[in-house]
């Protein structure tokens, strides 16, 4: 154990960081970069609230050692919408009521954005499958699934 100096590329910007060698990415993002959009719901890899993109793939940042992220591109919720424009997935989550308390929502966005890029023709059942690692206690998932279906349709056209 001990401190390591590394360079991380977060949301398109590279900077040096001093991190603990057993540190997880969730801690680095929230406590060192103060990027608090990524949420800690369980720190046990069970709820999906801490999902971020590592080289475009969704990972649970609470289960990802920060040292493994060196040389990779980390994208967090803060980088998903550009300026005033929401990502299509975000837009429909808002419009369709696909969030209530909102705590799981960043994780849902970070899971569904790459999911729809990989599965543009996903069926409702496939969307349910894709969402199954993200726990939501408020919505009963229905309006999240509705929103993702709508987003898929718009992204296809």
């Amino acid at each position: 154990m001990g401190l390591k100096q590394i360079e991380l590329t977060v949301n398109g910007f590279s900077s040096p960081f001093l991190v603990q060698s057993d540190e997880v990415l969730l801690f680095t993002l929230r406590e060192r970069l103060y990027l608090t959009g990524t949420k800690e719901g369980c720190n046990q890899g069970t709820c999906g609230s801490c999902t971020v993109l590592l080289d475009g793939k969704p990972v649970l940042s609470c289960m990802t050692p920060t040292l493994r992220c060196v040389g990779k591109k980390i994208i967090t919720i803060e980088n998903i919408s550009s300026g005033d424009t929401l990502h299509t997935v975000q837009k429909y989550l808002v419009e369709k009521g696909g969030l209530q308390c909102g705590f799981c929502t960043p994780g849902v966005v970070m899971t569904m954005v790459p999911f729809l890029e990989e599965n543009p023709n996903a069926s409702r059942e496939e969307i349910k499958e894709g969402l199954s690692g993200n726990l939501c206690r408020c919505t009963g998932y229905k309006k999240i699934i509705d929103a993702v279906e709508n987003a898929a349709e718009e992204m296809r056209s």
């Binding site: 103060y34 990027l35 608090t36 959009g37 990524t38 949420k39 800690e40 719901g41 369980c42 720190n43 046990q44 069970t46 709820c47 609230s49 967090t76 919720i77 803060e78 998903i80 919408s81 929401l86 975000q90 989550l93 808002v94 419009e95 369709k96 009521g97 969030l99 209530q100 308390c101 909102g102 705590f103 799981c104 929502t105 960043p106 966005v109 969307i127 349910k128 499958e129 969402l131 199954s132 690692g133 993200n134 726990l135 939501c136 206690r137 408020c138 919505t139 009963g140 998932y141 229905k142 309006k143 999240i144 699934i145």
Partner: protein, 758 residues
């Protein structure tokens, strides 16, 4: 209505939440901040024989170590059972109870400091199950010294009307059944988190994930010995509550105390395991219930004896005890009615309020028993229910005042939508339908702490910029109360929602609201907000009428314009604002809500009183695999009478979320203990439904337009959970002919029943 009321309206904070900008308690950080960690008890019931913090105090980075004796004043959300201390004093009552707290420069230092505190315990007799607590024990063995007769019974709630026990002995059709329900927990996604700042002016600011800033405010003052005017409690964005953040909590008090002691900002955020062991969830429950009917299928009596396992402390338990009984007075007319609920203390984390508070488990029991009676009498279960519904505008036997009541329309709707009459009892084996109804309060008519104040006050401020700011203590916990405040102001003033902003849930800035519990917010805060906004309109109209020489009542506020019908006056909103504020500047109007005086005069008459009640009817469709015992809930039709849906998008969301939570309790959720140790304090082992478990949902909002609700609105957040569980239980009977008398309905229990076991 021409404004946003009644239209599906995305939440005003949705963009912030979907982009990760919304600030939850755990996202706050202050300069020079300390972190708190705890030493928690490894014993379920024991005397603390040694507690030595000296080593911890000198651990590098540790700034303060606190033990129970430093914060000796007890507290609790109910003033009748303030039985908890922020930190255990002299003895511990459950595994996981806080024994000492450490504040340090880093989380690691706080954790390490807590680890090296030396503690020794002398175990005393354990009371892990309700039957243990009903036995007589020695005084020194009692969990709390205040319980009577050498037992660990916290509360016995009992009401009886018209001798139901006599009727049950002689009625034409009688059922007596026993039910057992596992304890379940809220499992909100945001762990508890609190930040406390001791300000330079000797005031305390606490930012906390709470549903009840007001009760936290009061309890902080009591325990910390501070005047109430020195305390500010703020609720930031909140990641779900469901009743699990509706008590003042030890960690909130400790964090605040640490800030006072160290004069530095202090933060405490729970791990998921700590959230589980803090619990405050639904009580494990055992129900012995008798229901009788006459020849024609009229319910003649209900009598029930209930034991609820409260865990180590009181929380809302006295209320829970009453709710288990009194909320069975609807939606059916039952004139001979009795219940006794005993809440026992056990050496486990405490139980408290959870969505559908107190009424979910007995609702399962009564709805399953009505299904049984219908079968006994060869009646359709829907018809039996219709035969017994309370009408509108009536009193129940315990003098609950029923006003608007859409239950018949709810049942007719789901019955029609699922094609019940052609499908019920006729589906192939393993495939079934089940029906159940629901009934819940729309806000408790009585405040928790008796006082002469209104239950809520809302201020509406108008200033030169044309903006309305709604000041309300209401706590948006994800249900969308902030959005409703904005909708109401926009509706009353004929302006866009963009003209309206909120300042909410800040005990320094906002007038008191009692909190987000008992499904009270839309009804009470909605009424107060409507009054405040209406008064702003009237005040503006008065000024404009005077200046323009027209009658104030003839001015129409609509579409960002203020005009008379004949258009002799036709002003933009901004022009109207300028006239209204001329010579006086910004003004504030106030609205409040006080529940009408309700109820009887007998002891216990206050329990379950509400200015209005919600109703509902749900039908579930299931498939049961006879080889594995697995139950698949395919579809749920839900109709809920919320009076008037101010925001149909969020009403639907509440009903769908209730289905999720009801499904979880019915099928998979259960807090498991071994020797008092919680065995599944994580989301792997405590299974809440995932997206894959979600059935198809067909939701219908029924609008009975309550005469006293704002625009006719009643509650939607809790009522819809009640019918979910028994509709599933009854559908399993239709599918495979077995009665599930224990929840959760896991495959092993189904299989055992299918094989003829009990």
């Amino acid at each position: 209505m021409s404004g946003p009321i009644g239209k599906p309206t995305p939440f005003i904070d949705a963009v912030q939440k979907v982009t990760g900008q919304a600030m939850y308690a755990g996202d706050y950080r202050m300069p020079n901040m300390l972190y708190v960690r705890f030493l928690r008890s490894t014993e379920s019931h024991a005397i603390i024989s040694k507690l030595d913090t000296s080593e911890a105090e000198s651990y590098p980075g540790v700034c303060a170590v606190v033990i129970g004796k430093e914060i000796p004043i007890s507290f609790g959300v109910l003033p009748i059972s303030p039985d908890e201390n922020a930190i255990a004093i002299d003895k511990v009552r459950y595994k996981g109870e806080i024994v000492a707290a450490v504040a340090a420069e880093t989380i690691e230092a706080a954790r390490e400091g807590a680890k090296i505190i030396q503690v020794e315990y002398e175990p005393i007799r354990l009371f892990l199950e309700p039957e243990d607590s009903l036995e007589t024990c020695a005084f020194h063995e009692q969990i709390h010294s205040h319980t009577k007769n050498g037992k660990n019974i916290h509360k016995t709630a009992e009401l009886r009307f018209n001798e139901p026990e006599k009727e049950i002995k002689t009625a034409a059709h009688v059922r007596r059944e026993k039910f057992k329900f596992a304890g379940v927990t809220h499992a909100f996604t945001e762990p508890h988190s609190t930040i406390a700042v001791w300000n330079g002016d000797d005031t305390l600011t606490v930012i906390s994930a709470t549903q009840v800033p007001h009760y936290l405010h009061r309890n902080l003052a009591k325990v910390l010995g501070l005047p109430m005017h020195s305390i500010q409690v703020k609720k930031p964005a909140l990641g779900g509550g469901f009743g699990g953040k509706s008590d003042p909590f030890p960690h909130e008090i400790i964090t605040a105390y640490m800030a006072m002691k160290t004069k530095r900002p202090v933060k405490c955020t729970f791990s998921r395991e700590e959230v589980f062991i803090t619990n405050h969830g639904r009580h494990p429950t055992e129900i012995d219930m008798s229901v009788s009917c006459d020849q024609n299928g009229k319910i003649t009596a209900l009598d029930t004896d209930i034991i609820i396992d409260g865990g180590a402390y009181g929380s809302f338990g006295v209320v829970t005890s009453y709710y288990n009984g009194v909320l069975l007075q609807g939606p059916y007319r039952i004139n001979k009615f009795g219940f006794r609920t005993r809440r026992v203390y056990t050496n486990k984390p405490q139980c408290g309020a959870m969505r559908g508070h107190g009424a979910v488990n007995p609702r399962y029991a009564v709805e399953v028993m009505l299904d049984m009676l219908a079968h006994d009498m060869n009646m359709d279960p829907c018809d039996l229910r219709i035969n017994n519904f309370l009408p509108e505008n009536t009193l129940t036997v315990g003098q609950l005042r029923i006003t608007s009541n859409g239950v018949r329309e709810c049942l007719d709707t789901v019955r029609m939508k699922c094609d019940w009459d052609n499908r019920y009892g006729k589906l192939p084996s393993g495939h079934g339908l089940g029906v159940a109804c629901g009934f819940f309060i729309s806000g408790s008519a009585l405040p928790i702490i008796w006082n002469r104040y209104p239950q809520t006050v809302v201020h509406a401020k108008l200033d030169f910029d044309g903006r309305i700011v709604m000041f309300s203590g209401a706590s948006d916990i994800g249900q969308g109360s902030d959005t409703v405040l904005v909708q109401i102001a926009a509706e009353e003033l004929g302006i866009t929602m963009g003209h309206v902003q909120v300042e909410v849930a800040d005990t320094k800035i906002t007038p008191v609201d009692l909190g987000s519990y008992s499904s009270r917010v839309t009804f009470m805060v909605g009424n107060a907000a409507k009054t405040a906004a209406t008064k702003v309109r009237e005040e503006m109209a008065k000024a404009i009428a005077k200046e323009k020489g027209v009658i104030a009542e003839n001015l129409i506020f609509n579409n960002c314009r203020i005009y008379t019908k004949d258009e002799t006056v036709d002003l933009s909103w901004e022009e109207g604002v300028e006239i209204a504020l001329a010579g006086r500047g910004a003004f504030v109007e106030s609205g409040y809500y006080i529940s009408p005086k309700l109820g009887g005069t007998f002891k216990g008459a206050g329990a379950g009183l509400s200015p209005a009640y919600s109703f509902g009817a749900f039908i579930s469709e299931v498939k049961v695999n006879p080889n594995t015992g697995e139950v698949n809930v395919i579809k749920i039709w839900g109709a809920h009478d919320c009076g008037k849906a101010l925001n149909p998008l969020s009403v639907e969301g509440q009903i769908e979320g209730s289905i999720h939570m009801g499904l979880g309790q019915a099928m998979s959720e259960e807090l498991r203990y071994k020797n008092g140790q919680q065995m599944n304090a994580n989301f792997f082992d405590y299974r809440i439904p995932s997206s894959l478990d979600t059935p198809d949902m067909d939701i219908t909002i029924i609008e009975s337009n309550d005469a006293e609700g704002p625009y006719g609105a009643k509650e939607a957040g809790e009522g819809p959970i009640h019918p979910v569980l028994p509709s599933i239980g009854n559908a399993i009977y239709d599918a495979v002919g077995i009665r599930m008398m224990e929840l959760p309905i896991t495959p092993d229990k189904v299989l055992s029943k299918l094989r003829g076991g009990e």
